[in-house]
Amino acid sequence: MIDWEQARRRLARSERGLEQALVADAQRVKRVWRERAARLARPPAEALSAVRPFLAFRLREETYALPLEELGEVIPNPACTPVPGAPAALAGVLNLRGQIRPVWDLARLLQLPEGESGDWVLLLRRPELGLRVGRAEQILHLRPEEFRVPLNAPPWVVGVSADALAWLDVQPLLQTAAPASSQERKES
């Protein structure tokens, strides 16, 4: 037999909890602001010159990184227009505020097996092109010496960190996969 008295007590308690959670508590808001101010006031633990910001992004199961200063913009789900007669690795072109940029499929550039290509595009500053990747995760501040160069590494891998983050160099990738397109880009 259910204890109806206890059931009623539990119902009243949950009702009260819900009211408290929904009503803004002045003390709680003040505590949050104070903690944030303290965190922002704390000087950086390490010299900023020693670390570099990296954008970590996922492509299928792997996590890759690119230095933040090489990037121009991150766009989720852009509308890419396929180009007829283009190399297989070229996903298409993107109209970015009136400017046309080529978008390369990073999975095909890395010669990964056929599969999901991802729906985010990272726009690079130099050269001005887009890379189709998986989801962009977060900004990481890392020291370049944390990356180690593995044996028999392909030329586009600068290094691999302790938590299997691969630092990519886009230039050799483009040269090995599509020299014709780079030539074309130079003429333009």
Binding site: L40, P53, E73, V74
Partner: protein, 557 residues
Amino acid sequence: MNLRIGTRILLGFGAMVALTLGLGWYVLAKQAEVRNHTAQIETRDLRALDELRQIIQGQYHMRALRETAVAQTLLGKSHQSEDPLLLQDRWRQSYEQTRKLLADLEATAEEYEKHPTSTQRALQWGRIRQSGAEAHATLKELAAEVEIGLALLARTDLAQMAARAPVLSRLRQNFETKVMAVTLLAQEQIDIGRAEVAALHDQTRTATLIALAAAVLLGTLCALAIQRSITRPLATFMQFVERVGQGDLTQQAPVDRRDELGDLARSLNQMVAGLKDVAGQTLAGTENLSAATAEILASTQQQGASTTEQAAAVQQTTATMAEIAQSGAQISERAKQVAASTEATSAATQAGLQAVQNTTRTMEAIREQAEAVAENVVALSEKTQAVGEIIATVNDIAEQSHLLALNAAIEAAAAGEQGRSFSVVANEIKNLADQSKEATVQVRSILGDIQKGINSSVMLTEEAVKRSESGRQQADVTDRTIRQLADSIQQSVQAFQQIAAGANQQQIGFDQVTQAVRNIGQASDQSANGTRQLEKAAANLNALSQQLRKAVERYRM
């Protein structure tokens, strides 16, 4: 020795008979020889003696005639007397006769000399013949002298006659002497013949004795041979039979003979084979008998045990029957009590029926309330859907904030040293966006739990409604059951009354059964006694079969 014994005995007897026959024939032959010999000798000797006697008579006759003639002459012719010439003729006749007899004697002697019975007698016959011849010659001289004397007489010349008388006398005496010598020789011959006959007789007797001895010896040897040829194998067979008698059946009598003993050996072997067969069958039969008696003994013992158990069971049955009789009485009593209490139960069923109808109504109310609860819970679920939509909006906002923060950070990085503060702000915005996103994830999870709880509540309520429906149906069933129960209680009252009556009859039957079981107990006691005797007999039979087995095992096969 392939001759049969009968043949052998016949041969032996035949040999004895042949010996006896030969001996008899020999003796008879010898006797005939002796008799012939004797007869010959007697015939010949008697003939010679007879001739001699006639010769002597002839001589006497001649003398008588001559002297008669002389006397007549001397007396003159006064007397009426015979004619002298006639007398002379008569004398001459007598002389001729005597001379002829002598010649005959000579011839006979010569003939016998040529065909003698023995050498000695041949010599004697020779001597007789010579003496006869001398007598013959003397007779001729005498005759010549007599002729002269007769001639003188006729002339009556007496002087001359007297002168010549001595010559005549001397011749006559000479002749007589000669004849006497012949006679003596003949008598000697007779003696010789007698001696010969006696010798021949002796010889025959000796030969007969020798032949008899030889026959006896031969017969004895024959009998010994036959006896040996029969008794030796018989001794072997006696030993064989003795061993068989001692139980040794492994031997074989020798069957290499073809006579009756061979037949006997074959018969003995057949007999031993038959004995072996019989002994083997007897042994097998004895073993079967032994096994059977052992089984009989075992089963008799089992029977004895089971009879004992039966007696025990009968006693138990008697006791049980007594208990049953007692409990039958109790049953009768109880049946009466139950009939009384069933009356009370019949009243209680009416109250039960009322309670079941109340239950049916309560179940119906429960079902209605549970359906109301289900309605409320479904409305609650629709509220959670609205909350979910709000959460989705918050999530979109968080996602856009995240993107915005990333691009802001990129711009700040591009701005270099000037963008450093902006980069911090961008990072802060990104953190807030991440926290918002985590919060929406938590709320979404809680909303899922709430939805699951609502679903299970609706299902539980549905189940409660079904159960209440089922309870109502059960109550209907109970209603019917109680009505049937009331009917059957009524029947039970009657049945218990019948039981009470039946128990009384049962009591009577139990008494009879108890008596019958007592009889069975007595019968099983008798059966136990019989089984003990049977067991004893089976044990005796077993011992007998063991003895029989020992007796048969005496045979070696």
